[in-house]
């Protein structure tokens, strides 16, 4: 029996869509996990994944409706994997919905997340257009966070989930 079987953990917050909240949440998640695990590198990875998912939510979410100016962050742990999910408004016919789906498929088309990450960096280097979104975040999550990424778009919201596959300590 793993020592992780003794407990699970769950963070579930609905938060205002303000940019400064990203770093507040990222550092809070990092500090919570430092309190749970001795593995500082792993805690940094969880925090990085949280930050990148939240940044994407704020950059690409549909924030036109002031009544829906909130996103939901969930971080859950079950022996020894950790799941980080961010849910935010997004119209299914929005270009960002299509881009997100295509990007997840593109990442999965590589033999390893590292290969996908390197390929994305080379694309960015070759892209001369100013101000084009780099969309490096998902590739970074997959590679540096050692994550499987999935997304579900329904009822005007998107839920992007990163499953971190941690090695038992």
């Amino acid at each position: 029996m793993s020592k992780f079987d003794d407990f699970g953990f769950s963070i579930d917050l609905t938060v205002r869509n303000e940019w400064r909240n990203i770093d507040l949440l990222r550092t809070s998640v990092q500090n919570c996990f430092i309190a749970v695990f001795a593995d500082l590198d792993g805690c940094h990875a969880i925090a990085m994944v949280t930050g990148e998912l939240l940044e994407n939510a704020l950059k690409y979410g549909d924030w036109t409706n002031a009544d829906r100016a909130m996103f939901r962050l969930r971080v859950e742990g079950r022996d020894p994997n950790i799941q980080v999910s961010v849910q935010n408004p997004l119209k299914p016919d929005d270009v960002h919905a299509t881009t997100l789906t295509k990007q997840i498929e593109w990442l999965a088309s590589f033999p390893t997340p590292e290969a996908a990450y390197r390929a994305r960096m080379l694309q960015i280097a070759q892209d001369d257009e100013e101000g084009t979104p780099s969309r490096l975040g998902l590739a970074r999550i997959a590679f540096e966070g050692n994550c499987r990424i999935s997304a579900k778009i329904e009822n005007g919201t998107v839920n992007v989930t990163a499953l971190l596959m941690r090695e038992p300590t």
């Binding site: 940019w19 990203i22 770093d23 990222r26 590198d41 940094h44 990875a45 925090a47 990085m48 930050g51 990148e52 940044e55 704020l58 950059k59 590292e114 990450y117 390197r118 960096m121 080379l122 960015i124 280097a125 780099s134 490096l136 975040g137 590739a139 970074r140 590679f143 540096e144």
Partner: protein
């Protein structure tokens, strides 16, 4: 060359007598659009380095966090320095796994021209 201070990020510049512009990153680079802040500062830096025919060392050992948009700005800096034939070195802390992963991946931009180097402290 003036230091950069923007939000949670500081980049301190020190110039050696032989023209090495040593730039130490501290804090966090977590802005929504880091290239908006970094690009004009990099341009000033490159102009100063060009005047002295110097080189650049970017030190990341003291930085706590940067987002993926910052990595995009760094990739563009590598490209710009190479075009301008300015030597650029990035120095990181190999004992930190996140820095090791982030910077080792940038080795994809190392060529035999000696213009871009990755080093760990």
């Amino acid at each position: 060359m003036v230091n950069l201070k923007s939000g949670d990020l500081t980049i301190e510049v020190a110039v050696s007598p032989d023209g090495v512009y040593s730039c130490t990153w501290r804090g966090k680079s977590n802005e929504r659009n880091p290239p908006e802040i970094l690009k004009p500062w990099f341009e000033q830096l490159l102009a100063a380095v060009g005047e002295r025919k110097g080189s650049i060392e970017m030190h990341f050992e003291k930085i706590d966090h940067f987002n993926s948009s910052t990595i995009t700005a760094l990739i563009k800096l590598i490209q710009t320095c190479r075009k301008a034939t300015v030597k650029l070195a990035m120095v990181y802390d190999q004992s930190l796994k996140w820095q090791r992963l982030s910077f080792d991946a940038l080795r994809v931009f190392e060529k035999n021209d000696d213009l871009f180097q990755l080093r760990f402290a």
